[in-house]
């Protein structure tokens, strides 16, 4: 069996094509293997990077946790300090109010004592005591009694409200009634709180040492006052001493002044004769 030269050439050409195909396949396979190698290397690289990053992340998380803990401690400290400062602030505010109340108390006491001793006119002294009882203590109904040395009775020298209508002849015998008993014993009498209509009962003796020269009786406070405050008690204590001396000194001055005028009148009369 003999082949024709054309067929042989065709076969040769096909074998050449097949060989070329194999060569290309080999080159492509080599390229793939090279790429595979490169990719494997890249995977190893990425794995290493991943491990490094994981380590870094863990360290960062740990650092943030630590920082968070420190910040929480700081917040707790600041919160604690804030509460301490808030408490101190409240204490200071309370202290401020206390100081203001003390100032108010001192101002009231100063004005009361200043006014009581600013005059030697008995009527003005009585008016001053009334002003203190109305404006500083807030009494709506009260009576100021002065001891009459001759009759040994309490005489109503000044009042506010309806007290004068209740008293017969505006006089109270010493030892009788609350006012008389306070004058006799020389001890003050207080009820704690005002009643619904502001009724209160406070009766204080006006004393110079142990000598009672009068009595102040409070029967009713102004409607908005619930009772006597510590400041009211201080003012009443002050009145007990200072009002007594103001009343007595003004009386003595008035008597001396009257006597002086009488004597001057006599002297003047003698001179004219």
């Amino acid at each position: 069996m003999t082949q024709k030269p054309e067929e042989i050439l065709t076969l040769f050409s096909k074998s050449e094509e097949l060989l070329e195909l194999f060569r290309k396949g080999k080159a492509f396979t080599e390229e793939l293997m090279c790429e595979n190698e490169r990719l494997r290397y890249r995977v190893v690289q990425l794995e290493t990077e991943k491990l490094d990053l994981s380590d870094m992340l863990m360290k960062e998380i740990e650092r943030v946790r630590l920082e968070n803990k420190q910040l929480a401690q700081k917040i707790e400290f600041i919160d604690h300090r804030f509460h301490e400062v808030e408490q101190e602030n409240k204490d200071f505010a309370l202290r401020y109010v206390e100081v203001e109340e003390q100032n108010e108390s001192l101002a009231n006491l100063y004005v009361a004592s200043y006014r009581l001793h600013s005059t030697l006119d008995p009527a003005e002294v009585v008016e001053c005591i009334k002003e203190i009882l109305v404006n500083m203590i807030g009494s709506e109904e009260f009576g100021l009694f002065v001891v009459d040395e001759e009759t040994q009775e309490l005489v109503l020298a000044g009042y506010e409200g309806e007290i004068a209508q209740r008293l017969d002849k505006e006089r109270v015998a010493i030892g009788e009634g609350l006012e008389g008993m306070v004058a006799e014993r020389g001890e003050p009498f207080f009820t704690e709180d005002a009643g619904e209509a502001g009724e209160v009962c406070a009766c204080i003796p006006l004393k110079i040492k142990e000598r009672v020269v009068g009595v102040i009786a409070l029967y009713k406070l102004l409607a908005h006052k619930a009772g006597l405050t510590p400041l009211d008690h201080k003012l009443l204590e002050l009145l007990a001493g200072h009002a007594a001396s103001a009343i007595v000194s003004s009386k003595l001055f008035a008597q001396a002044d009257r006597k002086l005028r009488t004597m001057e009148g006599f002297i003047s009369l003698l001179r004219t004769r």
């Binding site: 100032n103 108010e104 004005v111 006014r115 002003e131 109305v134 709506e140 102004l222």
Partner: protein
């Protein structure tokens, strides 16, 4: 707070002295800034002749009471800008309501609290 001029009106010299002392403890108010009057009529004359930043007046007074004083300042003198604080002795709501309806700017009740007085005065005396 700069220097202020205040008028204190009360027939009680004791209360005027107490108010004077209390007001002097408010920042910026000195003894010289406080003028006194013993009734509404005297206060009205002082308001006509001088300039005040604030008036504190008792309600019950002889000659002219605090309510009439407020009415005259608001209607006859047309001084709507002058703050007037009325001070009630009896603590009666009627007096206070009437005073506020006549144009009073605020009120206090006797015996006054210095803290309340200072708050009220400061609120009517701007910086």
């Amino acid at each position: 707070m700069s220097s202020r001029s205040l008028l204190v009106v009360d027939d009680s010299a004791t209360f005027r002295q107490l108010l004077r002392m209390s007001l002097q403890r408010v920042n910026g108010i000195s003894k010289a800034d406080i003028t006194e009057a013993s009734d509404g009529a005297e206060a009205l004359e002082k308001v006509k002749s001088s300039s005040f930043d604030l008036v504190l007046t008792d309600i019950r007074m002889p000659k002219m009471d605090g309510l009439e004083f407020v009415r005259q300042v608001r209607t006859e003198l047309q001084r709507q800008d002058l703050p007037i604080i009325i001070i009630s002795t009896k603590g009666a709501d009627d007096d206070i309501e009437l005073g506020m309806s006549l144009g009073a700017s605020g009120y206090l009740s006797k015996p006054i609290s210095i803290i309340r007085l200072r708050e009220l005065v400061t609120s009517f005396l701007p910086e």
